[in-house]
């Protein structure tokens, strides 16, 4: 699967995250998080897992996180990726 267009999912509420996608040649994940120091690596691992599960091979994924738990990350990334496909 390839990110075909810019898309967005999520909110800025505490314990949520905003996910932005855009097309690009490689696969890139950029994470901004208020808890990056403690949990940045776990957020990245979760995002990578979702992208892998959805077979996303190309695109830029920008995460703006406010301490979301992993199932929220899973849902938001999935929603943004699906929105990056449809009409």
């Amino acid at each position: 699967m390839v990110i075909l267009k810019k898309a967005q999912a999520g909110t800025m509420q505490s314990s949520d995250l905003m996910v932005f996608t855009e097309p690009s040649d490689g696969l890139e994940i950029i994470i901004d998080s208020t808890v990056a120091k403690q949990y940045g690596h776990l957020i990245r691992a979760k995002v990578e897992e979702v992208l892998d599960r959805m077979s996303v091979t190309q695109g830029t994924i920008r995460i703006k996180d406010r301490g979301a738990l992993d199932y929220a990350i899973d849902a938001r990334v999935q929603a943004a990726v699906l929105r990056s496909q449809g009409a």
Partner: protein, 345 residues
């Protein structure tokens, strides 16, 4: 039995005068000014009462206020979230906010990044950051005692060329930042192309764009209004602090060059601000006497004037070949663009 009260909350666009008047009161109560320049205005209602507002003009969020008793709740995040999503729908993924320094932290909690701060204003950005911009140009970073020039080049003249040549002879590398804001007669991509063509023989000169980070609608809005009276020291400080804090260190810039400005008051004020604040940040400011042709200072504004008056032959001694060719081949398009209300600079 206490009866259940259902607090219906919703965010909606404020479209009528009476709703905007209500928003205006909330702003004034919060010590903020109402600014009639906005594309959309959002209100957050709880049980029919307006408790938070926020507006957007292009990619700038403004007039954000929350009723005092509802601060420290999620409502601030709610309204900013709605503004950012609305901006995204409108095609702006990179948003900015101007706020009071004491509110900077509240925005940082939402992952906004601080960009500049002066005594009374903090500027923050969301979506992309200046680090993304600097990373994009990493490949042209060279070691040495380098110089920077910020120019609009509307269009590129022998005057610009002279300034770049002078800087190139006094520096290891020169970075020419072409103003990206598309508010000028000649479109950005063309201005950039003509600067590239006009300097391709100078091997220590590198051409790049300013992004929104120098002389832009964000850093220096009054430049595009052409109203010298509206220039505030805050704006000049914001623009130059971004240059000193981020741009100069990333490119090893030790000197900034500019042409003297005897005509345009606005540019003269910008030069005055550079003369004062750059040395405070360890950057030398070098002002070069303007190049003349036929006893007249070469300036982009006089070139545009000649072009629009049909005096194309006079352009020969003012602009390089590539610019001359572009101008003479596009006179009609440029003249009609000039007739519509496009801001010149």
């Amino acid at each position: 039995m206490p009866s259940a009260i259902i607090w219906c909350t919703m965010i909606s666009y404020l479209l009528t005068d009476s709703r905007i008047r209500e928003a205006r009161e909330l702003l004034i109560d919060s010590g903020l000014d109402f600014d009639p320049n906005f594309d959309i205005f959002l209100g957050y209602y709880e049980g029919g009462c307006l408790i938070a507002v926020g507006a957007r003009h292009k990619n700038v969020l403004k007039m954000v206020a929350v009723e005092p008793e509802h601060r420290d709740t999620g409502i601030f995040a709610e309204i900013i979230s709605a503004l950012v999503k609305d901006a995204f729908q409108a095609g702006y993924e990179h948003t900015f906010v101007f706020t009071k320094p004491e509110y900077s932290q509240s925005f940082q909690y939402l992952n906004f990044r601080p960009l500049a701060q002066t005594g009374s204003t903090a500027v923050l950005e969301y979506g992309y950051s200046i680090q993304d911009y600097l990373n994009k140009w990493k490949s042209i970073v060279r070691q040495g005692t380098n110089s920077g020039i910020v120019m609009n080049c509307n269009p590129f003249t022998f005057g610009h060329r002279y300034l770049i040549e002078t800087a190139a002879s006094q520096s290891d590398n020169v970075y020419v930042f072409v103003v990206e804001e598309d508010s000028s007669l000649i479109p950005f991509s063309k201005r950039m192309e003509l600067v590239r063509k006009g300097t391709e023989d100078l091997c220590n000169v590198h051409i790049l764009s300013t992004g929104p980070y120098a002389v832009s609608r964000i850093t220096f809005p009054s430049y595009f209004l052409k109203d010298a009276d509206k220039v505030t020291q805050e704006q000049l400080k914001t623009d130059l602090s971004i240059f000193c804090r981020y741009i100069a260190p990333a490119f090893g810039i030790k000197k900034r060059f500019a042409g003297q400005e005897p005509v345009c008051r606005l540019t003269a004020m910008y030069n005055d601000a550079m003369r004062k604040s750059l040395p405070e940040n360890g950057i030398e400011f070098v002002e070069i006497e303007r190049k003349t042709a036929g006893g007249r200072i070469i300036s982009a504004s006089s070139v545009r004037e000649m072009l629009l008056c049909g005096e194309t032959e006079k352009l020969r001694e003012m602009v390089p070949e590539a610019t001359y060719k572009y101008l003479t081949e596009n006179t009609g398009v440029l003249a009609s663009k000039n007739a519509t209300p496009v801001l010149n600079s």
